[in-house]
Structure formats: structure tokens, C-alpha cells
């Protein structure tokens, strides 16, 4: 019963910003991010050592090559075209980093997605924001970039009073904010579901009568764990492809 209450009693949102003790504090979230960064580097440093080999072999090389191929064909070619291939290294690293820091959700004894704390999603969203604004200003010039992102083509003049503030908020404020909230809330929601069903299974097991319905709760826990693998992959994919879409909207404005 205690475990059940502990899982249901969610701490207030202010708790998720606590970062160890002091500015240089180190906790589980930070440890997972260090792991994710090291794993991303490991895959691409060790996976690309056999440059002269025509046939890829080994787990790391296969992961690195199919990862690059996936980001290239499914993300960049679908959204930006060949112009966007210069962003391939950044987008591949972004995809792998988000995936590795989310997949810890289902790794036994860790069982915590680091992206369920919104510090790093916020930083990644701000990096995306800086990239697409800098690309827009560099490719189109400051005035053209503002005009292209604030004034949609074919809108009658009087309605512009209404449209320009809406477009400003949606392009410069809601974009990074929704990018952050999407990743953070998806991982937090998945983690809470797993915690709830795990605590429910334990609570049902403890009481003699209710143990009959424990298999249903436990079965759902196993099913949701499988589902969370999909979610971790999908959220990394969506974050990366939205970054690509936003960069594309700065590179190729609609006239």
C-alpha cells in the first residue's frame, strides 16, 4: 500500500528542476546524459574505424552505418533535399543522443528516461531555435527572413494585423517550446505509466485476495515496456525531423 501511494503521489513540478546540490551537482539524470553522450561518440568513433572495408561487420559499424542511412534517407531527403546534407552530422548525433538518453527508461536497474526532466530537452530545443534563425538570417538576410516568416503568401492586407502577431508567436515562441514539451512530456508520461503499473503489481501481490488480478496489471506492464521502446525511438525521430523541417523552412521559404 505504501509503494502504491508513493507512486501515485507525484511530486510538484518544481522538483524536476532540482539538480543535485549546488550548481555543479551530479545526479542520476546527469549520469544518464554522460552515458548517452559517451555511447553516441563510441558508436561513431569505433564504428567508423574500418573505413576501407566494403562490407560492414560488427554491431557498432552496422549501427553507425544504418543510423546515418536512416537519418539521410528518412529525415533529410524527405524534408530538406540534397541542400540539407550538410546538417547530416548534427542531426545524426542529435538522433542518437536523444535515443540513448530516452532508452534508459526500459533498461533494468536504471529505468529512468533522462529526458523526463526538461533541462536537456530545453537546451536541445534552444539549439534548434538558434540554428534555424541563424540559417534564415544568413540565407535570406534579416529583413527578408522576418518578412517570409511573418507574412504568409496570399493573405489580404487588412488581415495582416491579426496574422503577423500570430505568426510571430507560432514561429519564434511556440516552436521551441512545443519541441521541448513534446519530448519531455512524452518521456515523463511513459515513465509514470510504467511506475504506476509496477507499483500496482507490487501492491496487488502483497495482498492475499487481490493477487488474482495481479497478472493483468503485470501483463500491461510488460506490454507498456515494449511500447516505450517504440516511443523512445519515435520521439528521437520526431525531434530530429522537426529540427530538419524548421531548418528547411528557413532555407527554402515559401513564396
Amino acid at each position: 500500500m505504501n509503494a502504491l501511494l508513493l507512486a501515485v503521489d507525484v511530486p510538484p513540478i518544481s522538483n524536476v528542476t532540482i539538480w543535485g546540490a549546488g550548481p555543479l551537482g551530479f545526479n542520476k539524470t546527469a549520469a544518464i546524459y554522460v552515458f548517452a553522450a559517451l555511447a553516441t561518440m563510441l558508436v561513431f568513433v569505433l564504428g567508423t574505424r574500418r573505413k576501407d572495408a566494403l562490407v560492414p561487420a560488427g554491431l557498432l559499424q552496422n549501427t553507425a552505418e544504418s543510423g546515418v542511412g536512416f537519418v539521410r534517407n528518412q529525415i533529410i531527403m524527405q524534408t530538406m533535399g540534397t541542400d540539407g546534407l550538410q546538417y547530416l552530422p548534427y542531426l545524426t548525433a542529435l538522433f542518437f543522443f536523444i535515443f540513448f538518453s530516452s532508452i534508459t527508461e526500459i533498461i533494468p536497474f536504471v529505468q529512468f528516461p533522462a529526458n523526463a526532466r526538461f533541462g536537456m530537452p530545453l537546451v536541445l530545443a534552444l539549439v534548434t531555435w538558434v540554428i534555424y534563425n541563424v540559417v534564415g538570417v544568413a540565407k535570406q538576410g534579416p529583413l527578408h527572413y522576418l518578412k517570409n516568416s511573418l507574412i504568409p503568401p496570399g493573405v489580404p492586407k487588412p488581415i495582416l494585423i491579426l496574422v503577423i502577431p500570430i505568426e510571430f508567436v507560432s514561429t519564434f515562441i511556440v516552436r521551441p517550446f512545443s519541441l521541448m514539451v513534446r519530448l519531455f512530456a512524452n518521456m515523463l508520461a511513459g515513465h509514470l505509466i510504467l511506475v504506476t503499473f509496477a507499483a500496482l503489481s507490487a501492491g496487488l501481490w502483497a495482498a492475499k485476495v487481490t493477487v488474482v488480478i495481479m497478472p493483468f496489471s503485470f501483463g500491461l506492464l510488460v506490454a507498456m515496456t515494449g511500447f516505450e521502446i517504440l516511443v523512445a525511438f519515435l520521439q528521437a525521430f520526431i525531434f530530429t525531423i522537426l529540427t530538419a523541417v524548421y531548418i528547411d523552412s528557413s532555407m527554402h521559404p515559401s513564396h
Binding site: 510538484p12 524527405q78 524534408t79 514539451v181 508520461a189 520526431i238 522537426l242
Partner: protein, 87 residues
Amino acid sequence: MALLHLLLAQAAADPTKGLTAIGRGIVYGGAAIGPGIGIGLVVGNAITAMARQPESAGTVRTTMFLGIAFTEALALFGFVLAFIISG
């Protein structure tokens, strides 16, 4: 019966806690209505498109995930807002 007494005792001690929980439920439930309909429309139409033109399934799938991501954002705002509400 014992559980009921426990609940009643808690409710008598702090009625705002229960109201906060109800408020959280209303916020997230309300926020989930629109995106639920929206995601249904997006995926339904994507399936229609894939069935009619199987060769364009790759492009449609990518666009479908983009559409889901944009629609889903509203529900997630509600989810986060439900946590921010405190009694």
C-alpha cells in the same frame, strides 16, 4: 469500509487536495479531446492515402508523424499544465 473511512478522514482534513485532483483531471481530460479527434483524422487519412497509393507510403508515413507531432503538442501542454496546478 475501512478504506472509505480513511478517505473520508482525509477529505475532512484537507478538502482542497481532492478539488485539486479533480481540477487536474478536468484539465488533462479537456486537453485530450481535441488532439484525440485530430490524431484520428490525421492517421485515418494517412491510411486512406497509403491504401490508394502504396508506392507513396514512405512519404505519407513521414508526413503523418509530423502531423501527429503537431496535433499531439496541445494534449501535452494540458498534461504539463495538470502537473503545474497545485492546491
